[in-house]
Subunit: 243 residues, 6 copies
């Protein structure tokens, strides 16, 4: 991907290679699992993806098409959030630049699974179907724990979480509820090994999805069907199924 | 741009140069738009602006320094949100890109005052000091109604609003509350002359500030003192004061 | 249905046929999967099923053992609710007698899938892991809709429900919230073809699970692992997997 | 009563002793005051007892008639819950079997008055007229404290309760609110001398009435007039009144 | 019980001194008016009436002693609110002046029973023991309906109220909840025959007791024991009891 | 006192008559006491002050006219609460007597600014435009802190308050929420140097404005325009403005 998003994200580096291709994010090895995050599919024709019209590729700016095609090529389907946000290219770029900055950030103590768990736990508060279903799927894939996201959706306090994960979600939910965040909140995180930069990461993910959940609600963004079953069957079994 | 914000903040100074003209941020045409939001000041030394360390300019990427200096030069002060967000340059860029895309969007039926009113009405729900105080100030300036933001902060249903403004805030608040948004919500907007694109604008502003309010909470972002009094005194009087 | 559960309820009648065997539930091949409704398993040794001690079979009354063994034999596992409730035999009998009277009632307009949907929709309000996970599984099996229960868990108003199902859940949730139930509530049901007897059924299921959810909370009743994946894979695929 | 209810509950055992007769509950001396718990009366003709039709005795199964007549004979009136539930005989049996198992359980540290206090305190949360009025009456009778139930209805935290009673109600209300029940909840009970079996009793009563309150709402179950004044006048005075 | 309160309760008795004579606020003739609400008793020695010290009569201003003695003489007991408020004579005077102005107002469509019903219905929202118990007693006496206040305490929407009473309480509760009061609220009252002056009366009673409830909470004002049973026994019976 | 309020409102005018002289409640000398709160203005003609008709002076009792004229003469305007309450003279007297007893009480540890802060903090909970706007203005004047009331309106926990002020508002808000007030509440106040009499003062102000907020809602009492800007400009500047 060339273009504004790339430039926004990594403006100083001349980047001959498309943005999301290199690196671990959309790299080949991970593609199978991750690509799902956001990819394209024909199936979205039968049911509306959302409430707003979705532009044809030919009417979209080049950088957006390029990104969507790359995602689509490497994954099995294009997550509906790409389609719905493409209705507003400038917002599409800013949205995914922000998403990329926090969800694909390499530094810090949050694993990919941690981040997805935060998304699931905060999005269920806002009862956002897309965010809960899609990121529940991503959590299953990254964590290799097929039941944990479901547990968190029902009742995070009773889920099979480590104390570290509990502290992380407690902070994330306080941010998501727009609580006043005090030093005590930070200290609870620190007791589990998270520093202030990790707190920023947790807080920003919770805040970003506070936004995403609401955009999903007013655009009536629907989860792709693929998300419901992704990551529920252990890899070996999955392979066995598709000889 | 002959800086509307600039003029708002320090109306007496002639400003021959547009606020945020050139620069890498998002290309020539769009640049000016962004600056509006905020500007610089030395006063932030006496009280903490927020909970996270604020980088020295020399440690910040060029494009961010350029933007902040231009804002600071042309306005009387740098709104604290710039300082606080500069702790994370990549997020800074995405945050203000998004802000710019929605708050400085030229098309659509929302005036600048309408947009600020949405920010005030939704941010009070989350009890965000920075967002309410800063955007209350901006509303006073854009609307030239010195009391309306205060009224909305206390009780928007009892404020001196037009039916059109009431419908706009009702939609914005439904989004802010993460309510399920139904066709009925859109129809109420349409009855007041807002089409689906305006609804997207209202919904996105409400969603973006759902995020901003929460970031402000965990970073402990404090309003600059200037915001409390901005726009409270009619222009004529203000001029009279400074012969 | 005839059998041990029946025997509990109407003990005078000799019942030579086992409880969950006959019937259309899912036909012979499926029994193992479904019986699950409530059945036994060795796996429960590794993680605590609940907070209270679970009696050994030898210490349980004959009728309770008989029921549990039958369930266990025919299904692949014993749902944990049987184990946990067996701590109090008299309550076990009354609990399952009530459960049977409403969930296995043959008359009325509620299908098995309808009943499970009510359980899922009301149990998520109380954030009951066992009830949501176990009955979500049963709903998938009875309805053959693998995604609907997940949708209802997140946000029933946005789920792919018929108007009839929406009316049914609206009534069930009003009962679950302990709202005052008015004639208007009944009229909304009637508009979807439910009569007063159906309303009783819906209301009683919602009420019974208001109890069950709370018992599950104080006993810390945990869902069996089997429930998480039950009914997610279409039949054909499932068969293919197990030659 | 030659316990049809008993027979329901313990069907195989020949039970020469009638279920509710022996023991202090329905013993002769107490009958006048207590029988009220559930008994029959002609007065129910003038106002509807509930929303559903109440069967004629001749249309009811023998065991249910037997139970109701016994209650009616020994007490002054038939509590409306019997009439309303008789609309569904199978559910009637399970409901009263469960009720009997927990409310008339002889073992454990909960007195009859304790149990009624739990019912009052949890039923007021759900604003259930029948449950609050009827069980407030029973509490007055069992406790011989004519004002305490009224106090608990208004504000249990300000009522004249012992620390033991406060701990009991705090646990019961946590269960009633469908809170997650943690070890800390049990420890607070233990500090007041309640063990885990008592906790089960408290939790089950709270849970059972979570169900009853909701059934009462959708059936529009109304309290018998007798309940309003029962137990308000000291026994001596009462006797004096009726020479 | 003899006295002004009694007289209120049993109005047929000739009362040689006018109860509510015009004149200056705390003039002799008027005193009795205030007393109505309440009366005196020695019993308050055994349990604390409230959290603040209660002055000795000799330390109280003459007008307050005079009022309290008259109330005490004519009634059987001094309601605790008089004792507790006497801690602050200036506030005592203003409190009872306001009380008198609204509760003993002769004009308008609200009966004494109506006013007490408003107090009960709004005070239960704030869970105020004194206000609910004392004014529930007064309602029983004025209305001669011994069960209605108890019903309203549990669930006013299910109480045996006329449509007129329901409209009255709906308005009172909206005021008590500090809702925005709109023209629609007034129109609903008008549909039941209440004009704007009646609305003021209802609204002021609800507002005054919003204050009283809170004062009762921080002073820990306790209801006198007499209130629990007042008005529960029909007049004839009461006479029979006290030959 | 040579009218601080008066001076605050129109500081340039010499006020030869004392504002708060001791004496009988509505005697000449005392009248001024009440005026402090508020003052008169002709401007109320252009927009409705409230929902109820405001009497002409000639139709009002002498003592009320006298009070209003004094307030009007000495201040620049008559606060709308005087006009609206004059619709009911007896209630007007009691309302302002109570107001005077608590807001102009000289003893105790609460400063005038403290009292206004309590009014602002509790009135925003009830979203009362008049009370928040008018008393926010009074707070700015008494405290000489032009931003603090605005901060408290948005989020008192994040406002620049001393620990003493925080404890004071915490107690006031507990009373305003009609919480049960326990010994622990008093102890927290004591830790900040407030004794039980101060607690009574705080509690009564919170209680009185719980009433006022509600009266303001049903009378649709609107703030005078003057209040929005009062106290926002430092004194020196103000003088400079009016040479």
């Amino acid at each position: 991907m060339k273009g504004p998003l790339l430039r926004l994200l990594r403006p100083r580096r001349a980047s001959p290679r498309p943005l999301l291709v290199s690196g671990s994010l959309w790299g080949r090895a991970q593609t199978a699992a991750v690509s799902h995050a956001y990819s394209t599919q024909a199936g979205s024709t039968m049911r509306p993806t959302g409430r707003y019209p979705i532009p044809n590729k030919k009417d979209l700016p080049y950088d957006i098409v390029e990104l969507m095609e790359e995602v689509e090529m490497k994954s099995g389907f294009l997550p509906n959030v790409f389609s719905v946000m493409s209705h507003r290219p400038a917002e599409f770029r800013a949205f995914f630049a922000y998403y990329n900055a926090i969800m694909n950030k390499e530094k810090g103590r949050l694993s990919k699974a941690d981040k997805e768990l935060i998304v699931v736990a905060t999005s269920i508060v806002n009862r956002c179907p897309y965010c809960v279903i899609a990121h529940g799927a991503l959590h299953r894939i990254y964590s290799k724990k097929p039941a944990l996201a479901d547990q968190v959706v029902v009742n995070w306090k009773l889920a099979d979480l480590s104390e570290r994960e509990q502290a992380m979600l407690e902070f994330a939910l306080a941010v998501s509820h727009a609580d006043n965040i005090t030093e005590e909140h930070f200290q609870k995180l620190e007791a589990q090994g998270f520093d202030r930069e990790d707190a920023w990461d947790i807080g920003t993910i919770a805040s970003f999805f506070a936004m995403s959940n609401r955009i999903a609600h007013f655009t009536d963004l629907r989860p792709n069907e693929e998300f419901y079953t992704m990551g529920r069957i252990p890899r070996d079994k999955e392979k066995a199924e598709t000889p």
